[in-house]
Symmetry: C2
Subunit: 571 residues, 2 copies
């Protein structure tokens, strides 16, 4: 492509509304433009990258025997009603009606549609396993779109669904997708960690998120410093503190006027936070839940929701609810005598002795309360892992980092096949629900994550496999015949080789051209300047400061060797 003819609106300045590097560089390199909050258009330099990522995904999916299909983005509400999700999906789902008042959504995800396709076509175990995928635009009305294409209302997603006769088949399908995802991200040169993720109350049996460590990530990830354990904070566990061996003391009520927070309690009782147990009250689908964790811990809401079998509406209880179940003002809740539907006690609280808890009485706490003797409840892991906790696998310290999710694989099990009647006849002629998995990758987000990892102060440094173009040929001065003509010749020769090449034929200073090619991140640059009289050009890689003067006859092999080195097929 001749750059003089191209829509390639690079920006010198950092756009003021772009907070993170990838967003800034995508705008500056002319890859994307915002049309509305969370809604972007993809310009030529952008779509080329996104299409390359899609093709890598396609190749790796096909290599695992997955088959591409394309579902409608417009989905009739009936399917969502069958699965029970029409009323469950919140404001994130865009809903609309046709001229006959029939309801649809713009698909935020496609479990229902794939299940519907399969239940119509599959009747026998002989037709399974199947793995179907699509690469398609998803629509999600994000509450807070931000960070450029990282979190948007519309984005391109590869979503795949596997269909197996049993759990063992699903395990194999899941493993295949694990490998495909590992390959896809490796080919994009995106360092990532597959982390264990929560799979929901009624969800499947396993789930992994492919996470890229990033300060701008919206997820908290727990990594072990000693082994390969990694999990989303929603799912992560840590070793329980040793049970206290202290003798149980006599329980007593203490008047604590104006003392509400753990900090105030610590000061009032002159004990450290580990001596307290706090009780939080949640409202979940019409039920109330009290959760008791150590004073220095955070409640893990995902674990709590799973423990009660899942909840659509799940939030901290209102002041009036708290007053109702505790019989006291807010700030004095405790497990003794509380009138909630559920009482959940974190294991650490069980292991504590003589703790301070709320008395369910305004301005009163109780000292020396002990699980078993003074209060009871469902015991489990209901806390968030904190930095420095110990790994349950190896005992080393855990650390907590932020991450961006670029992929997610998930064992769905039979949730959708049961609710929607997707069954097959097994080899005994018995009807069984199909065992499903689902697997997603965000295309634009992957590109953004690659930029976060591959850039310098001058711009993007694209891995060869997903660069918008492989090579840029820069004539130093387009007005000089020998620069222009030789650049043209090289440009045509490289095109004929199957190299994707830009010719910077703009009437601009060389410095401007170099800056643009570095900003856009083209992996290889060939500069045609004064040495051309000796039949020589300058060859430079974007990811290295070195420049090399090479003969015209060396260009081809230079480029071929870069393709080989990067394991990218040419042409």
């Amino acid at each position: 492509m001749r750059m003089s003819k191209m829509l390639m609106p690079t920006l010198k300045e950092v756009p003021s509304d772009a907070e993170i590097t990838s967003h800034q560089l995508m705008l500056r390199a002319g890859m994307i433009r915002k049309m509305a909050s969370g809604v972007y258009n993809q310009l030529p330099m952008g779509i080329r990258v996104f299409n390359k990522i899609q093709n890598i995904i396609r190749e790796e999916m096909n290599a695992k025997g997955a088959q591409e299909i394309l579902c409608s983005g417009l989905i009739p509400s009936e399917l969502w009603k069958e699965s029970g999700r029409w009323d469950v999906m919140g404001p994130e789902m865009f809903r609309l009606k046709d001229r006959n008042e029939r309801s649809y959504c713009m698909g935020p995800t496609h479990e229902e549609v794939f299940t519907d396709i399969i239940r119509q076509e599959v009747t026998s175990y002989k037709q399974l396993p199947l793995n179907l995928y699509q690469i398609q635009v998803k629509y999600r009305d994000e509450r807070r779109p931000r960070f450029g294409v990282m979190r948007t209302k519309t984005f391109t997603m590869k979503d795949a669904y596997s269909f197996d006769v049993d759990q063992e088949g699903l395990d194999k399908s899941y493993q295949d997708m694990f490998e495909a995802y590992t390959n896809i991200f490796a080919r994009c040169e995106l360092e990532n960690s597959p982390v264990q993720a929560d799979s929901g109350a009624m969800g499947g049996s396993a789930s992994a998120e492919f996470m890229v460590k990033s300060e701008v990530g919206e997820d908290e990830i727990v990594f072990c410093t000693g082994c390969d354990y990694a999990a989303n904070i929603e799912k992560a566990t840590s070793v329980n503190h040793e049970p206290s061996t202290e003798e149980m003391k006599e329980m007593k009520e203490v008047h604590t006027p104006g003392v509400h927070t753990i900090k105030e309690l610590v000061e009032f009782f002159k004990e450290d936070a580990g001596k307290f147990a706090k009780t939080l009250i949640y409202y979940a689908d019409g039920k109330t839940v009290a959760v008791v964790v150590r004073g220095d811990r955070d409640v893990n809401e995902t674990k709590v929701a799973n423990a009660i079998g899942g909840a659509v509406e799940f939030e901290l209880a209102s002041e009036s609810t708290i007053k109702e179940v505790t019989g006291a003002e807010v700030g004095f809740a405790g497990p003794i005598g509380i009138k909630t539907d559920y009482i959940l006690i974190d294991q650490e609280v069980v292991d504590q002795r003589n703790v301070v808890i709320g008395a369910n009485k305004t301005e009163y706490h109780i000292e020396n309360a002990n699980y078993g003797r003074d209060f009871e409840g469902t015991v489990g892991d209901f806390r968030n892992v904190a930095e420095g906790d110990k790994c349950t696998k190896c005992g080393s310290s855990l650390e907590v980092a932020r991450g961006v999710e670029v992929g997610h694989i998930f064992k769905l099990g039979t949730k959708y096949s049961e609710s929607m009647g997707a069954t097959f006849l097994d080899n005994n002629g018995k009807s069984q629900p199909i065992v499903m998995g689902c697997y997603g990758i965000g295309v634009e987000r992957t590109a953004a994550a690659v930029i976060e990892q591959h850039h310098d102060e001058n711009g993007i440094i694209w891995p060869l496999a997903i660069a918008p173009y492989h090579v840029v040929v820069v004539p130093v001065n387009i007005k000089k015949d020998e620069h222009r003509e030789n650049a043209e010749k090289i440009y045509e020769e490289l095109k004929a080789m199957g190299v994707e090449v830009l010719l910077d034929d703009r009437d601009e200073r060389a410095g401007v051209k170099f800056k643009d090619s570095e900003l856009i991140g083209i992996p290889m640059r060939i500069t045609v300047g004064k040495d051309i009289v000796d039949g020589k050009v300058e060859f430079k890689l974007r990811n290295s400061a070195d420049k090399e003067v090479i003969g015209l006859d060396e260009i081809k092999s230079k480029i071929e060797s870069e393709f080989e080195k990067n394991n990218v097929k040419l042409g």
Copy 2:
């Protein structure tokens, strides 16, 4: 691909709800499945064809220097309000709101979005011309979805927009697109006629539709039997009848009780239909329009709407409006003394003498009325061409046929650039509106039109360039080692050559396999049967009845020569 592993749900029976051949065959070949009225999912055999058509489009667009981008399908209403179309677009546009009650549509077309992109990036004539395109899903709430993917609520469209500094530039861009479209349809082996189309009242200066003749088409096309003239009926013109040389007679009112229709008039007056002039009354954006055409003619509503400068609401007037403007019951309207805002007289009526018209008086007509002497109005071409009319270019007979529109190119001019402020500074530093064109192709509809032209009683006969697979290898009996093993070997060898090949490794009778491959329409079939003991296989083309026994060593060259013959690149 191994057919045993493939989601390829072929159907023996013709689905009862599919009226036309392409719809029946797409369903039977397992290419598509319906999810709701006008909403289809694309299965593996379908998406491969649609993707190939997309790639042909891409190649031909790129060859003309067009650049691919991708716009959001979700479009904020603000852009449509700027162009003035938010209130104009009817129920065909899907509208929706986000969680903040902000309005959007799901793009039925993208003039506004492309104009918005360009006005932000283009400031100078030096940046023009540009041609941008996207291949994207469009959403249109069709009143009556039908004929499979021919008319749906969602479909894939390539839409391109050109941006030029002047009309001359637009003419060149338009011609480029005309050529690109001609190439695209030629590569798909789709016979079509580019026909002149209406370009609207305020629209651009030219417009062509690429029409495929078809009984199921929703458009009426006028073709000349003597020259290359072809036009949409909305636009088509024919030679006016010779002016009558009859003497004008005295006008007189005739009592015509119960006589309303032209047929009744013909009987009553014992004259042929050409002796009458009928007056139809329309309601257009609050104005009334009387249109007078010969009794045997149909009013062309597009021409009428254009003549009054376009109208958003345009329909036959209500009974009460007719009574108001004529002062009579319905059935007696005429041009004399009618109280409409416009009176339009078709040229043929001007050329008639002594015609019968309505008297604007209940149960009365007027005989011997003459334009000029007795009534006046705006004269022009307001009639539909009828079969047998004479061509304005060559005088030969015109014929009227139905057609399916697969592509449309259109000179927009400055409609959008003016309303949305997309301007550039010309070489005199003066601000000018960008001159635009727009160009669309329907992807799935093109595939359907190809099927309408390329099939036989056994199924689809895909042109090699867009076939889902090039070759199917059929072992006659999968249980015989020599059949299976040789088929496998051929399959692997062809794959290595870059041929897209199916291996029919299903445990089915050969007849079933042949039937499926013919239904799906795979261009070449290699059958591994009893001759394999002599190192021979059967080679058959889908588009020919001939079978040929060839040696294993001839397979490669046979296939290569088919690619060459069909001008399709291999690998």
